[in-house]
């Protein structure tokens, strides 16, 4: 069998044969073929199985609107499921597999579903899997999950790369058919910057699929000349294999260029696809139109396709699905298919025309006023049954049937910003409405101008109008003479009485399903879509939506525009996730952030932990230490005994500047900031709008109009985003600017009784940092070795402590200077674990306590929510539910038996109560071993905890088998009076 269905002519290169395989079977095609055209040439009509009923299916179309011919393309890591055979360019060595079938495409065991179709109608899953309830998780869901989906994934990483790029132009022309080419030529000759993009690999649109002539040349030659001229113009960029997938704000369009999909693998250094963001001043939508089918009984057999697709396959790819075809149409365009295929030597069984006044033809039989009532053929069409105008029935043997129900303009991009298309009665189709995306003009078949001449004229006038809007007067080029046939169509959507008449072939939605939806009152177009899944497949209903609407309109006694359309959303065609990701994968998606002292920390043998994207030193093991606890205990003990140094660069730092800086912080923090003196730091708590605590940190007033705000490491981005939202959206009138300076400063905590002595060795002498000159919570500009620096006297550990910051590039030098100066005090460097132990000993809340469920009241900071001012979250923090008498309060927990641990996550139960959720008294949020106290400690939330000091409660963790007594104590285990801070 070698291309038995190959015809003469076509735009294929017969000098370049290509070998490919489908389901392991080797075949031949030519350069210029798609996988679908090559398979049809080899007499393969069966290319896939439908989603629900596993019905045998072949291609319905010859383009990107294809619902049926979906295959798994390539093998191994490059395997891509659900690829349309109708757009997959053939390359030598291409390997494709059919999908959604077992064990083979011709014998699919799951086709049994088709026999039970009466039980699998629209919404069957809402009714079927209700009982017994226990079956859902164990039985129904696993079975449904196994049955769902079409293709399979390789489960291997994608070996290809994807790029993103930006393009700018005066005019973007979407589609390079007759209208688009004329628009591009008009603008290109006028000298403006033009981008013309088309999803096809051969530009020209229908000019390449028809036998029409333009003046004295064929449409194919005219298109080739036009494209050659556009390529030669330096101000025009021609993007083939490029789909405009979405229309976004301000004339921005998304475009996917398939750079390497037509090759077995991308050339070295080349991406597979590029996602372009095109900034256009104006755009002409010339995306053409899609032919729509007619619904009739068993209209989904392989071999039944759109009449225009039959014509495309014959004229462009020189193939026919069968040597004998019939056509079923409600308009004149269907007759063209019969004429073209007859001219190619294919036998025409008949043209079945629903119109009683259908035009006649000498070359083939026209059955006027007739309809197709059924079809036959298990794995491919073998015959159609026709009901003639007189009511009699006739059977026509044929291997293919071209169906034409008219054309739908491709309005999708015109509606991406919710613009509703409008109904045009003369063509019985929706065209772009008035509310187009800014700067867009519609032309050609996309605007309902279906004749070649009409399309070209509208393309020219759209370009002239677009340039006029840009202030450039230009004239339209001469439009060649070509067919200008009027639309001659009598709407006909479905053959009456047909039940298993497919509308959405991919999702197996039939006319009967639409009737059921109507019967069950899912009549709104949005409900119809979701109840039946009409239009929810990968083709987004390009060939099915209007047919479904027409039937619903008929049932509801409305006209089609009254029923309306669903919302069109990007992307226009399925787009690979990798394309959206671009280069953002692996380390490029989630980079590792290192502090300026990272190299120094490595030299110290630090063990690192990821915090956000930062690598932070967790602890610094010393020789002889075999367990992390030994290192951490040493770091904690030595810090409290003498002095410790910790890298706190990763804390979020935000510069808040402006005359209204204090007013702004007063809004953002729940506690007051207006009267913070210059040179002082204040602890601040931020609430979410709903009254829940969001983040805490400090704000240092460096000048009257300048604060430095710190955030927790993990929330740095979120807090900055929140503050920008507050600044830009809630209080745009305030004079305040925010700058993220997290990466601009290296910052170190120096904590412990000898902290000041150590710093006095490092800070330049002219700066007095004595307790009197620089008291607790002071801040100021200083210098270190002549380098400008900032000093904050704040403490997370509960010790006399400072944080010192220098510009990032001096971070390495400063940590080395600090440790060197600390040698005489036996200073230690400590990591995040010791930091955590010391803050738990001190009872400071951190991320575990600010966990998205807790309020200021829970945290013991209820009084901080200042009621003399308004701040974000203040009002909603007063909600009854957040202020119950037994509200959770932050407390300390101490084991009654010193050997017992206090594991974080364990729950608190009163003595004698049963252990269940109803009796839950609270939970442990943070816990550690305190080397200073010699036993484990924890902090957590307990109901009315502040009133239960000294109470013995039970700590339980049924999952880990923990159950012992703990005592509720103050969360401030160390120095509750805060004397150490102020020395």
């Amino acid at each position: 069998m070698t291309q038995v269905n190959r015809l003469k002519g076509g735009l294929i290169n017969r000098n370049v044969p290509m070998t490919f395989s489908f389901d392991g079977k080797s075949m031949q095609g030519f350069e210029g073929d798609t996988l679908a055209s090559a398979l049809l040439a080899n007499d393969v009509r069966l290319m896939g199985r439908s989603f629900k009923y596993h019905r045998p299916r072949g291609p319905l179309t010859a383009g990107s609107e294809e619902p049926n011919a979906l295959v798994e393309l390539r093998t191994g890591a490059r395997k891509e499921p659900n690829t349309r055979a109708t757009t997959a360019e053939l390359f030598d060595g291409l390997s494709a597999q059919s999908q959604n079938r077992w064990p083979s495409l011709s014998f699919d065991a799951m086709a049994i579903n088709d026999r039970f179709s009466n039980f699998l109608t629209a919404g069957f899953y809402y009714k079927t899997f209700m009982w017994p309830a226990a079956f859902w998780e164990k039985v129904y869901e696993p079975i449904i999950r196994k049955a769902a989906g079409l293709g399979t994934l390789s489960h291997e990483p994608d070996p290809d790369s994807y790029d993103k790029g930006f393009l700018h132009c005066d005019l973007l022309v979407i589609g390079a058919g007759p209208a688009g080419l004329v628009a591009a030529l008009t603008a290109g000759r006028a000298g403006v910057q033009v981008i013309v993009a088309d999803e096809d690999f051969v530009l020209g649109g229908r000019l390449n699929a028809e036998t029409i002539t333009l003046s004295d040349r064929s449409g194919v030659d005219w298109a080739a000349d036009a494209i050659a001229e556009l390529h030669a113009l330096p101000n025009v960029r021609v993007l083939s294999r490029t789909t405009i997938i979405g229309a976004f704000d301000h004339g921005i369009y998304g475009a996917v260029e398939r750079v390497s999909d037509h090759l077995s693998e991308p050339a070295a250094g080349k991406p597979r696809q590029i996602l372009w963001r095109i900034y256009s001043k104006r755009a002409v939508l010339a995306a053409g139109a899609t032919e729509r089918p007619i619904a009739f009984e068993n209209n989904d057999r392989p071999g039944i396709m759109l009449a225009s697709a039959l014509r495309s396959y014959a004229n462009r790819w020189a193939v026919t699905p069968s040597q004998k075809i019939a056509v079923f149409t409600n308009n004149d365009d269907g007759h063209r298919t019969a004429a073209d295929l007859l001219q190619k030597g294919v036998t025409i069984a008949a043209v079945i025309d629903t119109r009683a006044d259908a035009p006649t033809c000498d070359s083939f039989e026209v059955l006027a006023g007739a309809v197709v009532t059924n079809t036959a053929g298990r794995l491919g069409l073998s015959a159609v049954q026709v009901q003639l105008a007189d009511g009699s029935t006739r059977q026509l043997d044929c291997g293919a049937l071209g169906v034409s129900g008219g054309w739908n303009p491709n309005v999708h991009l015109a509606s991406h910003q919710r613009g509703r298309p409008v109904w045009r009665e003369d063509i019985a189709a929706f065209v772009p409405g008035e509310a187009l995306p800014a700067g867009m003009l519609a032309a050609g078949a996309a605007n309902g101008n279906f004749s070649t001449h009409g399309a070209m004229l509208s393309g020219a006038s759209a370009a002239v109008a677009a340039l006029a809007e840009l202030g450039l007067e230009t004239t339209a080029p001469d439009i060649p003479e070509s067919e200008d046939a009027p639309i001659n169509l009598t709407p006909f959507w479905h053959v009456q009485g047909a039940k298993r008449a497919w509308l959405d072939q991919q999702n197996d939605v039939t006319a009967k399903d639409v009737k059921l939806a109507h019967q069950e009152n899912f009549q709104s177009v949005e409900h119809l879509k979701r109840y039946t899944t009409l239009g929810m497949a990968t083709d987004q209903g390009k060939t099915s939506n209007i047919g479904g609407l027409a039937i619903m309109a008929e049932l509801a006694g409305k006209n089609i525009p009254e029923v309306g359309t669903t919302i069109f959303r990007p992307p226009y065609t399925p787009t690979a996730m990798g394309t959206f990701a671009g280069r953002s994968k692996g380390a490029d998606f989630r980079p590792t952030r290192k502090t300026p002292s990272h190299r120094w920390a490595e030299e110290q043998g630090a063990v690192f932990v990821e915090v956000g994207m930062w690598l932070r030193a967790q602890w610094f093991p010393r020789p002889g230490e075999t367990h992390w606890r030994q290192s951490v205990d040493r770091e904690v003990t030595q810090t409290r005994r003498s002095v410790g140094i910790c890298d706190v660069t990763t804390l979020g730092k935000i510069d808040v500047q402006g005359t209204d800086a204090a007013t702004f912080l007063n809004k953002v923090y729940c506690n007051p900031f207006a009267k913070v003196p210059v040179g002082k730091v204040r602890y601040g708590l931020m609430l979410r709008e709903d009254g829940i605590a969001m983040d805490d940190g400090t704000a240092a007033r460096m000048a009257e109009d300048h604060f430095v705000v710190t955030t927790t490491t993990a929330n740095a981005v979120g807090v900055y985003r929140h503050m920008e939202f507050v600044r830009q959206c809630l209080f745009p009138d305030l004079d305040v600017q925010l700058i993220s300076t997290t990466e601009a400063w290296a910052q170190y905590s120096v904590a412990g009784p000898n902290a000041r002595k150590l710093l006095q060795k490092v800070v330049d002498k002219q700066h007095d940092i004595s307790n009197e000159a620089f008291p607790y919570m002071a801040c100021g500009e200083i210098s270190v070795g002549g380098v400008r620096a900032r000093l904050f006297r704040i403490s997370f550990s509960g010790e006399l402590a400072y944080e010192i910051a220098v510009p990032t590039r001096y971070g390495d030098a400063l940590i080395r200077a600090l440790t060197e100066a600390g040698e005489e005090f036996d200073a230690v460097v400590y990591g995040t674990e010791a930091l955590g132990v010391m803050r738990i000993e001190k009872g400071h809340a951190a991320g575990n306590e600010l966990n998205g469920t807790t309020t200021a009241l829970n945290l013991g900071m209820g009084r901080m929510v200042n009621k003399k001012k308004d701040s974000i979250g203040s009002t909603l923090s007063e909600r009854d539910g957040l202020n119950t008498e037994d509200a959770l309060k932050l407390v300390g927990l101490k084991p009654v038996s010193p050997k017992d641990p206090v594991p974080a996550g364990a729950h608190i139960m009163s003595k004698g109560s049963s252990i269940d959720a109803a009796h839950d008294q609270g939970y442990v949020t943070s816990a550690c071993f305190s080397p200073n106290l010699g036993h484990h400690i924890g902090i957590g939330f307990v109901k009315s905890g502040d009133a239960r000091m000294g109470e013995i409660v039970r700590l339980v963790s049924p999952l880990t088998g923990v159950e012992h007594d703990v005592q509720i104590v103050s969360a401030h285990f160390i120095d509750p009076e805060g004397d150490r801070l102020r020395v």
């Binding site: 402006g658 004079d735 060795k761 070795g785 060197e820």
Partner: protein, 67 residues
């Protein structure tokens, strides 16, 4: 107390003590340590004064906002 040396030597942006230099197929790529990007925002109502101050500072007319 002994005097620390306190020599505050800066690192380059790429974390080295000297600018990094790479040769890729005959093309030399060198780290430029003399270049920084600044964020400049005017106080409300003082756009003109701010622009003048910036012009004086950089000895060149500053670009328009967003350019």
């Amino acid at each position: 107390m002994s005097e620390p040396r306190n020599q505050m030597k800066p690192m380059t942006s790429l974390g080295g003590s000297a600018p990094q230099v790479m040769d890729i197929n005959g093309v030399t790529l060198a780290e430029n340590t003399d270049c920084a990007i600044a964020y400049f925002a005017a106080r409300r109502g003082q756009e003109a004064a701010a622009k003048m101050a910036l012009e004086k500072f950089i000895s060149a007319p500053p670009p328009d906002a967003g350019q």
